[in-house]
């Protein structure tokens, strides 16, 4: 299993997200990136890529719900501002296409104001 962090070491939230995703999906490939718009230490925005056999035979909505559930608090809230799922694929799908879309730019909706 390969896994890489977006920042050296990773903060507590990032580590928690990684642990939870590993526990639930036993992924063959996992990438958790801290893409926070403010300081990285705020750990507010994350982008994840999960490649797991557990996604076989499941629809996209089910995969995303499962990922949301894995990283969320017990009351269903995320616990942080934004989760982007770059990819939720089976190993076969990942072998065929491992391109991940770029993230959109912030437009101020997280309260930090407009960014260029």
């Amino acid at each position: 299993m390969s896994s890489k962090n977006g920042s050296a070491g990773g903060g507590p939230r990032q580590n928690l997200i990684e642990e939870r995703l590993k526990d639930v999906f036993n992924p063959i490939h996992l990438d958790v990136q801290n893409v926070s718009h403010g300081p990285k230490s705020g750990e507010s925005h994350f982008k994840v890529i999960v490649v797991s056999e557990q996604f076989e035979g499941t629809r996209l909505i089910g995969r995303h719900r499962a990922i949301n559930a894995a990283v969320s608090e017990s009351d269903g809230s995320l616990g942080f501002h934004s989760l982007e799922i770059g990819a939720a694929k089976t190993p076969d799908e990942w072998n065929i296409n491992s391109n991940v879309k770029d993230s959109p730019k912030c437009a101020g909706g997280d309260g930090r104001g407009m960014k260029n």
């Binding site: 996209l60 909505i61 995303h64 719900r65 949301n68 969320s72 269903g76 809230s77 995320l78 934004s82 989760l83 982007e84 799922i85 770059g86 879309k101 993230s103 959109p104 730019k105 912030c106 437009a107 101020g108 909706g109 997280d110």
Partner: protein, 120 residues
């Protein structure tokens, strides 16, 4: 003219849920987003609008930044923690990540075609 006490109190979660249900029932394509179609206030909501805009349909959008009750209520309603959220013909489709993938593989286009028929 009589005022009920409810006029001056906050909407109940039950009422919010009802309001969301009506929005979903009455609009074949509705997106709960940050900002408006013309001025999205979030990159992900903007992506959702761009995708829907490409289908040339008159979709309905709900600005959750202008409606705190819906902002929290819709997350509970859909059992989905983030905004934007797309509904097509009453069915919850997902957020912008799902929309992008379904747009690219043609699935979203098919669903929108069916919804267009409902709009006639």
């Amino acid at each position: 003219m009589s005022f009920s006490p409810d006029e001056f109190t906050q909407e109940t979660p039950e009422n919010t849920k009802q309001r969301i249900q009506e929005l979903v029932d009455n609009n074949p394509v509705v997106v709960f987003m940050k900002g408006s179609k013309l001025f999205p206030q979030c990159g992900f909501s903007n992506t959702a609008c761009q995708i829907l805009g490409s289908f040339d349909i008159d979709f309905h959008s709900v600005d959750v930044l202008a409606d705190e009750a819906i902002r929290t209520g819709v997350k509970d309603f859909s059992q989905w923690p983030t905004i934007p959220q797309l509904y097509v013909c009453g069915e919850f489709i997902g957020g912008s990540d799902i929309m992008i993938e379904m747009y690219q593989n043609g699935e979203l286009g098919e669903m929108i075609e069916k919804a267009k028929a409902d709009m006639l």
